[in-house]
């Protein structure tokens, strides 16, 4: 019981402190070929990652034209979609990632100044 309590508290404190700077990010960007939106999205996420997640992220770009089965497996509807596999919770960022505030919100990077 006590144990659980301390766990919850720790989790809460962790949450208040914001995403620890050492958390590892696993991101997948689903795109359709070299469409303008795809390239735009890629450029956008690349910039954010380089700026905020240097050295602790993994970004995989998948062209669903070439791997349709992956689109099914990952429940992709809209394109482009950036899936944040880790850290939990799983989020899907739909769109060309042009709205940076929303992207940061989606990636739980908002609290960082």
């Amino acid at each position: 019981m006590k144990n659980t309590d301390s766990d919850t508290t720790a989790a809460f404190e962790k949450l208040v402190a914001g995403t620890p700077s050492d958390e590892h990010y696993v991101l997948r960007l689903y795109v359709t070929g070299m469409s303008p939106r795809s390239t735009e999205a890629f450029a956008s996420i690349k910039a954010i990652c380089d700026e905020r997640l240097q050295g602790r992220y993994e970004l995989e770009v998948i062209d669903i034209y070439q791997h349709p089965q992956l689109a099914i497996d990952e429940q992709i509807i809209a394109v482009p979609t950036l899936v944040k596999k880790l850290p939990a919770p799983l989020r899907r960022l739909v769109g060309d990632l042009s709205n940076q505030d929303r992207v940061l919100l989606g990636l739980d990077l908002r609290r960082k100044p």
Partner: protein, 588 residues
């Protein structure tokens, strides 16, 4: 693909159609859904959209060799598979055989963050992948509107859906897209604006606590179609739609006659019974013997080896069997032989349309030559008078088209004018038997008469009938001062007639006996006279004999005298007997 579509219609009239395989739907659409085009199926929750779409795919895959893709936005593949297993659709097997591809599209609002412009290319890619993987010709998008719940940018969604439908057309697949119906509009998000080739609306209405599913084709571009609402059933065989108004008066009239099962009733009907494929209405008050006469008819049909379908709306099959056995009609052997099939259900459990649907279905399956509905009146009491008339017309037309002879019984309450109560139906039926109770001398007696019977010289007599151990027996007709005599009055009359004839018979017998006696007396007298005569004759003979012997003696004496006197011998031959006869007398 459009080239293929053109080739499919040799008639070159209208557009190519893809049969759905759903019973009845192909009839009202005139062949099926538009080939290579999307069809919108809309309706409220629980009215059978998913099932209709699924059956379209399964029938296509199993019956028409057209593989299909089912893209579901609401139910997972597993759930769907379980749901339709009860209908005998084995989706796993179809998937295995590459006749069906299923894809569940999960749209989870709370996982999604919209960060800018996007399109639904992901959906296109998945659909394309599924179509190409099995060479699908049919596609179902089950409640695509779920997308509106997951993605908030309506203008993007609308644009993308428009593009999707266009893409489906270009792809040449026949698509069914299901939609929730909205308030006042066909669909919640006005998707009917994009899918304009064919729109089918499903409806699940409750009127008077009776729920009926209905289907209507709102729009079918480029083809004529039925515009009415059709009830449809969902049962263990899937969906069946009833094209009930596509009826006419084209049925052929049979000249074959079939027995009513009661020989004396046949005699009343021109001597031969009902016409085959005619409709017989038997109306009467409670307890006037309708079911018994119906049972006779059913038994007679089975005895001829014909199938009989018996719809019972007030009694269970067991009860009917027992009751009919009590009047000497044993229907059980026919049930066991499969010639007689009972379908018992309360009229109140369904709406009219549902009943009609059930009847259609059963008739199609059982293929009877004879149908009994007992009583059809309880069926018509379910709906309004107008509804029930429409329904009866459809029913009668349907049965006639199938060449089925139908016997409908109808209950009239005691107060109503017997002939007026069924006025609406009366024009539809070919033969109308009226059963009623006659109250006379403190008793009720059953009588029947043929009110009308088209195309035959029928009896106009009011006939009393009895329910005996041997079934229904029509009695002889006795007319009294107040009309036909029934019950005790008839029996009295019968007894009186019997007594009268007995008396006459006795008189005749007495006379006969008298004659015999007379003759016997006469004969006795003749015998006596004969005896007397014989006696007299005897006496006479004796006299003659004596005379002769005397004469002989006399002649001998004479001869002796002659001899003694040495005279001539008197010739016996020369002298006649008569003379000799006289001689002695003269000597006397």
């Amino acid at each position: 693909m459009s080239k293929d579509a053109d080739q499919q219609t040799p008639a070159n009239r209208g557009l190519a159609k893809v049969p759905t395989g759903i019973q009845g739907l192909d009839e009202i659409t005139g062949g099926g859904l538009p080939c290579g085009r999307p069809t919108l199926v809309c309706g409220s929750a629980g009215c059978g959209k998913t099932l209709l779409a699924m059956e379209f795919l399964v029938r296509g895959a199993t019956q028409f060799g057209e593989p299909g893709v089912f893209m579901s936005f609401e139910e997972t593949t597993q759930e769907l598979t379980q749901n339709v297993r009860s209908l005998g659709f084995d989706l796993d097997d179809l998937v295995e055989q590459k006749k069906l591809a299923m894809d569940f599209v999960r749209v989870e609002r709370n996982e999604i963050e919209e960060t800018g412009e996007y399109d639904l290319e992901g959906l296109f890619v998945r659909l394309n992948f599924a179509i190409d993987s099995i060479g699908a010709k049919r596609v179902v998008l089950d409640t695509i509107e779920a997308l509106f719940g997951g993605l908030s940018n309506v203008s993007i969604l609308r644009g993308e859906l428009r593009r999707l439908f266009r893409w489906l057309k270009d792809k040449g697949v026949t698509a069914v897209i299901t939609c929730e119906s909205g308030a006042g509009t066909l669909t919640k998000h006005s998707l009917e604006e994009y899918v304009s080739d064919c729109v089918i609306v499903l409806d699940h209405r409750v009127t008077d606590q009776m729920s009926t599913r209905r289907l209507r084709i709102v729009k079918y571009r480029g083809t004529s179609h039925e515009t009415n609402e059709y009830p449809f059933l969902i049962d263990e065989d899937g969906i069946s739609v009833l094209p009930i108004t596509s009826l006419g008066l084209q049925h052929t009239a049979s000249t074959e006659r079939i027995s009513s099962g009661i020989p004396r009733l046949d005699a009343m009907l021109g001597g031969e019974g009902y016409y085959r494929s005619s409709t017989v209405l038997m109306s009467g008050t409670a307890g006037s013997g309708k079911s018994s006469i119906a049972a006779h008819f059913a038994a007679a049909a089975c005895a001829r080896g014909e199938r009989c379908l018996y719809f019972a709306f007030e009694e269970s099959p067991g009860q009917i069997l027992r009751n009919m056995r009590s009047i000497g009609i044993d229907l059980e052997p026919w049930v066991k032989q499969g010639l007689l099939h009972f379908h018992a259900s309360r009229a109140a459990i369904h709406g009219l349309e549902m009943h009609l649907a059930t009847i259609h279905k059963l008739v199609r399956e059982f293929k009877p030559r004879v149908v009994v509905m007992d009583p059809v009146g309880s069926l018509t009491s379910v709906g309004t008078r107008q509804d029930s008339n429409v329904m009866l017309t459809r029913l009668i037309d349907f049965l006639k088209m199938q060449g089925i002879t139908a016997l409908l019984t109808s209950l009239t309450s005691g107060d109503e004018a017997l002939e007026g109560a069924n006025m609406d139906v009366s024009t539809l039926v070919d033969t109308w038997l009226l059963l009623r109770d006659l109250e006379l001398d403190g008793e009720r007696n059953r009588v029947m008469y043929v009110l009308k019977s088209r195309g035959m010289a029928h009896s106009n007599q009011l006939r009393e009938f009895l329910l005996t151990n041997q079934g229904v027996e029509l009695q002889n007709v006795y007319l009294g001062a107040e009309g036909v005599l029934t019950g005790s009055a008839r029996q009295t009359r019968e007894a009186a007639e019997k007594a009268g004839s007995l008396l006459r018979h006795q008189e005749a017998e007495a006379k006969q006996r008298e004659r015999v006696l007379k003759r016997e007396a006469q004969e006795a007298r003749i015998v006596v006279l004969q005896k007397e005569f014989e006696a007299e004759e005897e006496v006479a003979k004796r006299d003659i004999e004596q005379e002769r012997s005397r004469e002989e003696t006399h002649r001998q004496d004479r001869d002796r005298m002659g001899i003694s006197r040495k005279g001539d011998k008197v010739s016996k031959d020369a002298e006649p007997l008569a003379r000799s006869h006289e001689t002695p007398r003269g000597r006397k």
